[in-house]
Subunit: 301 residues, 2 copies
């Protein structure tokens, strides 16, 4: 039995940044999000990998406490993303994507996942996200969905359906502006609230995150990092730690949501300090708590 | 006797934004900064205007409490800036600049300004900024200097001298990255601290501001605005309200600096809500205090 179901890719990444490179190392939105969530609660990841995935990568996930009942092992190769970050470390240039086993993958939730109370629909095709949501036996307490510009451009109606169905649809500032055709983030946030009548969280990368409810705004800074080594997976870590913290509390309200956003920022900031999942896999819960407390000092006035 | 000397242009602006336009209305960095400072303390502005400036514009400044002893009335026309903001409201496109009376203007401080304890060197040629600083009879308690990308490109050595001489050199994120040739704002901040051995403040526009000391970081959000009507002068309002608040306290330390940055953000956010100085001139100190308190709620977790 898991507390959180994370639907998101488990993959190979080959990444180059000004500070280092990785070659076919463990990556994917499901990987980052489920490891981040596992600091707080029991999370299982739903995806598929190929026969080249290797037990060493399975072991990394298991060691971090991720449940792998929902990870299908399929004939063929594992999804593989190649990308490069330049001087502006905030945007990746995709060099190659090989979908491989994820090309025609139809996610099927294990029976014991269908009653989980927390569901994270990672960056994915909105139709696949809705399909996973529909497989749940009862409506989870909290559904968080992530999105990306590709689907906003190509499947806008379906993305809007996900915004409606989920409790929280995470998007970054560019995506929010694109989806609602406005330069004003606050206007975009209000449109999100109107759609799902709950709350809106807009991620602003190195500038933190904005939470909006009908009552007002919460603005969370990002942790000031001297050097971003590799930002891959930071958005997934943000979402994973957020839902992990909320699942641990067992309930959701605005006060807890504010704390969840800070925990999300904490785990994302650690993740950016190493190549791939390297740093994410080496931090302790104590370090997370320490940086959480540092955030209080960072915003105090 | 004034508490604060503001060196910065008093000018005419003709601005077009997606939300409105102005035609030869009161503007200039000295105007915005001295009005913002005057909410808190007695400020005088040092600049020159031409015979076309008109008593109605003098009256606007006087009504807001700005001392005009240092404002020279010269034969010729007032400095005139024409600019346009597009969909991305954060960057202005300059359409025309007529320097007019400011072309060969050599600022001369009135005697009674030379003992002021607070000095704001607005956006200007760094040599003129140093010239004004050198006219002070004793070193002020606090010297804040603003800069802009043009001078970083064309007079980098002099800008670095201003950074060294001033207690705080304000720059925005792009300027800091350019001046210290690094994508990392925290690295740039550390280089500023190394130069003037004090503290660094980097403005991030709609993303707020970063204060760095040797002890650590303070990250201030910007006030979430639904609509930015006209961002002209927001940076000057930020600097003016900051130094105004600090002059009112009569002393400077990190705790007060954090509050000063929030007051700066508050006044800048109001300024952005109207065309030109329209909104800045209509707000009350009570409204400023209310929004200051709102900021506490915005960052609370």
């Amino acid at each position: 039995m898991v507390d959180i179901v994370v639907f998101g890719s488990v993959a190979f990444d080959s990444i180059k940044t000004p500070f280092g490179k990785t070659d076919k190392t463990l990556g994917g939105s499901g990987t980052y999000a489920s490891i981040a969530a596992s600091f707080f609660s029991k999370a299982g990841v739903v995806s598929a990998v190929g026969s080249d995935f290797g037990t060493e990568n399975m072991d990394i996930l298991k060691k971090k406490g991720v449940d792998l009942t929902g990870l299908a092992l399929m004939p063929g190769k594992t999804f593989h993303w190649k990308a490069e970050y330049g001087h502006d470390i905030n945007s990746a240039k995709t060099l190659d994507v090989q979908f491989n086993v994820l090309k025609n993958f139809k996610p099927e939730l294990p029976e014991e996942y269908k009653n989980a109370e927390f569901l994270l629909l990672g960056n994915n095709d909105p139709e696949a996200q809705l399909n996973v949501l529909n497989q749940m036996e009862k409506r989870p307490k909290l559904v968080i969905a992530d999105t990306m510009n590709y689907y906003i451009e190509h499947k806008k109606d379906k993305v809007l359906e996900v915004v409606k169905e989920a409790d929280i649809c995470l998007m970054n500032d560019g995506e929010a502006r694109m989806l609602f055709n406005t330069p004003s983030l606050l206007k975009a946030a209000k449109k999100i609230i109107k759609l799902d009548s709950n709350l809106a969280i807009i991620k602003k990368g190195e500038h933190g995150a904005l939470l909006n409810t009908e009552k007002g705004s919460f603005v969370a800074p990002a942790y000031p990092l001297e050097e971003v080594i590799d930002p891959t997976g930071c958005g997934d870590c943000f979402a994973g730690a957020m839902i992990g913290f909320l699942a641990k509390q067992g309930t959701v309200n605005e006060e807890l949501m504010r704390k969840a956003i800070i925990y999300g920022s904490v785990v994302a900031s650690f993740n950016a300090e190493g190549m791939g999942t390297e740093k994410l896999c080496s931090i302790s819960m104590q370090e997370i708590e320490e940086r959480f407390n540092e955030f209080k000092e960072i915003v105090r006035f």
